[in-house]
């Protein structure tokens, strides 16, 4: 039986696709059955049957034809579907294993590309994780967050300047405003838990009873506050604890309910636990929630918290009725608040209220950090593009080396589409390897970023989660496709075949141009990132160089919330005297002092009367009451006159020190020393105090504020005017972190049963951290990304130049043979890389110029167009490009003309 093998079935199937698959199956079946019946008839006729009988018999043996045909058609269709699927899977498996073999064959390239992808994708996954966590995610467990709004007040041009209010304002809006379903007051405070050595501070949130109903959460166990537990003047001592606090303190056991926690001066009964992951409206949640009115002595608003309408210390949230426009709600609230609190700071002035939807302010609440984080997100995409350009370049270079192989395959009749599929599979596989490694990078990088820059946001766990995984998978596939497509399209170009057959190398120049363009783009992006790093570092340096009046890295503050535990002022003073004496003896402490207030904390205003030659000037200033050595402890210089001495006591003549800005404001260039001022407390009734010194300006509450005038009075003479006390100490040259622990112990044991003593460097004050964070974040991340881009660009330049040099071996050989000096050959090679870098620098500089206006608001006393930084970066890139060309240049110089010529 001779027969000619015909096309394989799946090819036929493929070809018949055009006819319509269903019709094709039907025709095929018909052909097969018709053939069968014909054969049967033929064989019967051969056995001596007549033609009519044979035909009838054939049909009879087949079984009812019409019916069977339909059944068989069904079976055939099903069969074809299954087989087509298997064919496709086979093709994919084949492509993947082919690609894998190719990658294994070039391990160096695979590793470099894998690493490049890992870094590029990893940077993105990390930033996505951070951004997702900080900015994108709505608060956990909160029902319908879109209608929750926060009250802000401001004047024209800065409508949201002030976001804290007072209790009378809250009460009036709660009772009378009709725009809201619920109105909520919130005050966040650190709360002393327990006493003595085991005491600690935990974070507390005082909330009105309407808080949990507004958020729409249900407790994990127990219950939330009832309205009758939040009543003035003193609410019920009940507390709701957070899920993590429940786990840590009570092991997650139900018996936690009904237990007592000694918070401040009262014992609070645990009544409920918030659901897992719930953090309220902030990014990090407190440990405990307490009824607003239950605070007692801990109350942030001071003893007159319920009635004092002058100050501002609590925030007001509300759930607005869906049909009420926010503008109307704000006007209504303003009217009500003005009636209820005529003495408030916003009455009688051009202040207006605004209700801010929390979903839009959540990001803004993180302030500049959020903006910088977003910016870094953008930067990480640039890094990814650089990585893509680099990989595309490498693949392109490799593709060129594989020209012959590809030409052979094209000649063997492989379709262009199939070839592209092959090459794409390779790059996708590489991207997948990179993507997997990227997750490791993200896990590690996310932890690093958190540790370095968001330490105060106690977010635990890896940044890698479901959405980060999805994001990584998406960009992995996108990068794989992006980097594979360009080389695949270029290499599989049909012209290639002819150009290769002739053995000529004329295809090189054009492809090299694409590669150079990629390099120029890469260099430009590296310039942008490095300039970013430069300006942020410069800002950070500028900020660090700012004279704060506080040496934030050596001076520490010790806080102890004695008022919250209900102690009287006199005993507070005694405890702080004790603590000061003990702290002074701690090894590593060079100075220590006590002040009524410290920088970046609370501050007290005072009216000061300055007697002039003709009249008395009424001056506003901030006042502080300090022990001797306070200025030396902080690191502030006494500019003229002297510091307080222990001899400036109650029996001595009254003295005062003023700050530099205060002195200049009221005395100009003259010295204020000797002037006798009245201030602090009641200026009319106390004797005047003589100015004995002028001290450098010390920050009040922010690194970036304009200095405010301060007057300082000695503790021994004026201690009674402000009852608050904080301890300050200064570490000598030793590691401050060790000193801190000892200072803490000394303070904690100054008297029995003290609440938690919180000691930390001024650099770790939340305000300082938050204010420095954008610059730290920007400087660190831009530097990392910039170096990454620089390394990638260097690798890219090296790759292209070294490849081109190899291609031009013959040309070099001829030049050398013709007597070119090695220097000129080397310059020829160097010029190539440097030209690419220079072009990249120019384009990068243009981008920097154009983009500067977005970055400048985030900088401190630095221009994003800083010519010095731009110049430095340009120099750096060109030198790196030059360095990357050195090796190829050396190789070019060493070309043996005879060998090079013989090769052709």
């Amino acid at each position: 039986m001779r027969r000619r093998r015909s096309l394989p079935d799946h090819v036929r199937r493929a070809f018949r696709l055009d006819l319509g698959r269903r019709r094709a199956v039907e025709r095929e079946l018909d052909d097969e059955l018709r053939f069968h019946l014909d054969e049967r008839v033929r064989s019967l006729v051969a056995q001596g049957w007549t033609r009519e009988h044979a035909e009838a018999e054939a049909l009879a043996r087949f079984g009812s034809y019409e019916e069977s045909f339909i059944q068989l058609l069904e079976a055939a269709r099903e069969r074809n579907e299954v087989l087509t699927m298997f064919d496709r899977m086979d093709a994919i498996r084949h492509d993947v294993s082919y690609a894998a073999r190719q990658l294994v064959r070039a391990p160096a390239l695979t590793i470099i590309v894998g690493l490049t992808f890992a870094l590029g994708i990893g940077a993105n996954a990390t930033m996505f994780g951070v951004i997702d966590r900080l900015l994108l995610r709505p608060p956990v467990g909160v029902r319908d967050p879109a209608h929750i709004v926060k009250l802000a007040a401001g004047i024209q041009g800065n409508e949201t300047e002030q976001q804290t209010f007072n209790y009378p304002v809250y009460r009036a809006i709660r009772d009378r405003a009709r725009a809201f379903d619920l109105v909520v007051a919130i005050d966040a405070l650190d709360v002393p838990l327990g006493r003595g050595e085991s005491a600690e501070d935990i974070s507390g949130l005082f909330v009105s009873a309407s808080y949990f109903p507004m958020l729409g959460v249900t407790p994990a166990i127990g219950r939330f506050f009832r309205a009758d537990e939040d009543v003035e003047p003193l609410g019920a001592p009940v507390v709701v604890i957070s899920y993590p606090f429940w786990l840590n303190r009570f092991g997650g056991e139900t018996r936690a309910l009904g237990q007592a926690l000694e918070l401040g001066d009262r014992k609070f009964t645990v009544i409920g636990v918030t659901p897992r992951g719930f953090t309220g409206l902030g990014i990090t949640g407190p440990d405990v929630w307490m009824p607003f009115t239950a605070a007692g002595a801990m109350q942030g608003g001071g003893p007159k918290w319920a009635t004092a309408a002058g100050g501002s210390w609590l925030t007001i949230f509300a759930r607005v009725r869906p049909e009420v426009p926010l503008r109307l709600a704000a006007d209504e609230s303003m009217r009500i608040a003005r009636e209820a609190a005529p003495e408030a700071w916003f009455t009688g002035k051009p202040w207006s209220f605004t209700w801010l939807p929390i979903m839009t302010t959540r990001a803004a609440d993180r302030g500049v950090s959020a903006t910088v984080t977003e910016l870094l997100g953008g930067m990480s995409i640039i890094v990814l593009l650089v990585a893509c350009a680099n990989v595309a370049n490498l693949l392109l270079a490799r593709g060129l080396r594989r020209r012959r192989e590809i030409a052979v395959r094209l000649a063997l009749g492989i379709s262009r589409g199939r070839l592209i599929t092959h090459l794409l599979t390779e790059s996708l596989l590489l991207a997948l390897i990179g993507g997997a490694a990227a997750l490791l990078v993200a896990d590690w990088g996310g932890e690093l970023i958190q540790k370095l820059l968001f330490q105060d946001l106690a977010v635990t766990g890896s940044v890698v989660n479901g959405s980060v995984l999805a994001f990584t998978a998406t960009i992995t596939v996108a990068t794989g496709a992006l980097t594979g497509l360009l080389p695949a399209l270029q290499i599989s170009h049909p012209e290639l075949t002819s150009s290769l057959k002739s053995g000529a190398r004329d295809g090189t120049a054009r492809r090299s141009r694409t590669r150079r363009l990629l390099l120029v783009a890469q260099t430009a992006m590296a310039v942008v990132l490095l300039v970013g790093a430069g300006v942020f570092v410069r800002s950070l340096v500028a900020v660090n160089d700012m004279p704060l009046g506080v040496d934030v890295d050596r001076a520490m503050v010790g806080k102890m919330n004695l008022r919250a535990t209900g102690r009287l002022a006199s005993s507070t003073d005694r405890i702080f005297e004790q603590a000061l004496a003990r702290v002074r003896k701690v090894p590593g402490v060079s100075h220590a002092a006590v002040g009524a207030t410290v920088p970046f904390g609370q501050s007290w205003g005072a009216l000061v009367l300055i007697p002039g030659p003709d009249s008395v000037t009424h001056a506003n200033a901030m006042s502080n009451i300090v022990t001797p050595d306070y200025f030396a402890t902080l690191g502030a210089r006494v500019l003229s006159g002297r510091d307080f001495r222990p001899s400036d006591d109650a029996g001595a003549p009254r003295v005062m020190i003023v700050s530099e800005i205060f002195a200049t404001r009221y005395w100009g260039k003259r010295s204020p020393i000797g002037a006798c001022l009245r201030g602090a407390g009641d200026p009319d009734s106390i004797p005047c105090a003589q100015v004995i010194g002028v001290v450098q300006n010390i920050r009040r509450q922010s690194i970036f504020e304009d200095s405010t005038g301060f007057i300082y009075l000695p503790m021994a003479q004026a201690g009674q005017y402000i009852s608050a006390r904080e301890l300050v100490a200064r570490a000598d040259d030793r590691d401050p972190s060790r000193v801190i622990a000892n200072v803490r112990r000394a303070m904690q044991t100054a008297a029995p049963n003290l609440p938690f003593a919180d000691v930390h460097l001024f650099a770790d004050e939340p305000t300082v951290r938050q204010e420095l964070r954008p610059f730290r974040l920007g400087a660190t991340m831009f530097a990392v990304f910039g170096c990454l881009a620089l390394v990638l660009a260097a690798i890219g330049i090296y790759g292209v130049v070294s490849y081109d040099t190899t291609q031009r071996t013959k040309e070099m050989g001829v030049r050398i043979a013709l007597g070119a000096r090695s220097r000129s050959v080397a310059i020829l090679v160097l010029r190539e890389g440097v030209a690419v870098a220079a072009a990249g620098v120019c384009i990068g500089a243009l981008i920097v110029m154009a983009g500067a206006k977005f970055v400048t608001p985030m900088l401190y006393e630095t221009s994003a167009r800083d010519p010095l930084i731009l110049g430095g970066v340009a120099f750096l890139l060109v030198s790196v490009a030059g360095a990357a060309c050195l090796l190829p240049a050396r190789r070019a110089v060493q070309v043996d003309p005879i060998v090079a010529l013989r090769e052709e």
């Binding site: 039986m1 001779r2 027969r3 000619r4 093998r5 015909s6 096309l7 394989p8 079935d9 036929r12 095929e28 052909d31 097969e32 059955l33 053939f35 069968h36 014909d38 054969e39 049967r40 064989s43 043996r61 087949f62 079984g63 009812s64 034809y65 069977s68 059944q71 068989l72 079976a75 055939a76 099903e78 069969r79 299954v82 087989l83 298997f86």
Partner: protein
């Protein structure tokens, strides 16, 4: 199973298989031709056999079936288990009645 056995040799088209079976069975297995094709398509779907179009000696197009490696393995396993089954059943059936 019998179809697989038939295809152990050269590839065959449907009619050849039918004839092969009829010859071996000597008329003891009456199978409708349509049922044979049902069986063939099912085996093909299970990838125990594969098919491709070829030309007969009479120069006609016919669909030729061949056994796949998977099919061979399947046949080996099934034959063994069938033999075990048949032996057991026949041993029981042919066992002389005891006690009479």
């Amino acid at each position: 199973m019998l179809v697989l056995r038939a295809l152990l040799g050269d590839p065959m088209h449907g009619f050849e298989i039918a004839t092969w079976l009829a010859t071996r069975a000597k008329g003891n297995l009456a199978v409708l031709d349509s049922a044979l094709y049902q069986a063939l398509y099912r085996l093909e779907r299970q990838r125990l056999i594969s098919a491709e179009w070829g030309t007969t000696e009479n120069n006609r197009q016919a669909r030729y079936y061949r056994i796949t490696p998977r099919g061979r393995a399947y046949l080996r396993a099934e034959t063994a288990s069938w033999l075990r089954y048949a032996q057991t059943v026949s041993a029981i059936l042919t066992e002389p009645l005891s006690g009479t």
